[in-house]
Point group: C2
Chain length 124, copies 2
């Protein structure tokens, strides 16, 4: 899986890394049961500190994307609580859609964009 970090971004490195891994899962580049590199290995590869990677992994664990094991390392293991996930998503969408309404973007416009992104991910 390809990981790209923008060091000039205003977004924290561990957040970027978390997102990249989530992209990887969404596009099926990595899937249930797959191993992620060890924190030290990935840190070395990207050129960042071990703790930054560990922070990303710990968040991914809390959010239900991986399980951490001392022997195996980090393994993709999606905890699907769909009800909860939809609730979380709704909260995040509120701000985005409020902005959209201010900018004259219609519900149909949003549907189109959502559809496009789903297609992007499904193609990988």
């Amino acid at each position: 899986m390809y990981v790209k970090i923008d060091f000039n971004s205003d977004e924290a490195i561990y957040i970027q890394l978390r997102n990249q891994i989530i992209y990887g899962i969404a596009t099926s580049q990595i899937q249930e049961g797959d191993n992620l590199p060890s924190v030290r290995e990935l840190a070395e590869y990207i050129g960042i500190n071990m703790h930054t990677v560990n922070k990303a992994y710990t968040i991914l664990k809390q959010e239900g994307y991986v399980k951490l094991d001392r022997r195996k390392g980090a393994v993709i293991a999606i905890d699907i609580d769909k009800i909860q996930a939809i609730e979380d998503m709704k909260e995040e969408l509120r701000v985005i859609l409020a902005k959209a309404i201010c900018k004259n973007i219609s519900c149909q416009d949003v549907f189109e964009v959502v559809g496009e992104i789903f297609n992007e991910f499904e193609r990988g």
Copy 2:
């Protein structure tokens, strides 16, 4: 317009305030041409520092929601660059929808939630 700040939130106060004002515009509680309270007045009302309010106003200006005037104060003035706004929205939606796909949420599920939120805002 009602403004509610959660001081225990992990979200910065000036971000919360920005969002609340965007909600106010999206729900037509405040509209084009309306005046926002002065930075000092709103800071006093909420119980926060003047500069925190100023930061929220400055961001709202940069993002094209208000115009700031020395004499009139902050005035709602939406700069509608729909193409740009859709592009920005798409970028924000990518992470959210990647998470959704991981959690087995379908495109139809997202449409429903988006529809619900649009209804919420349209009712005010």
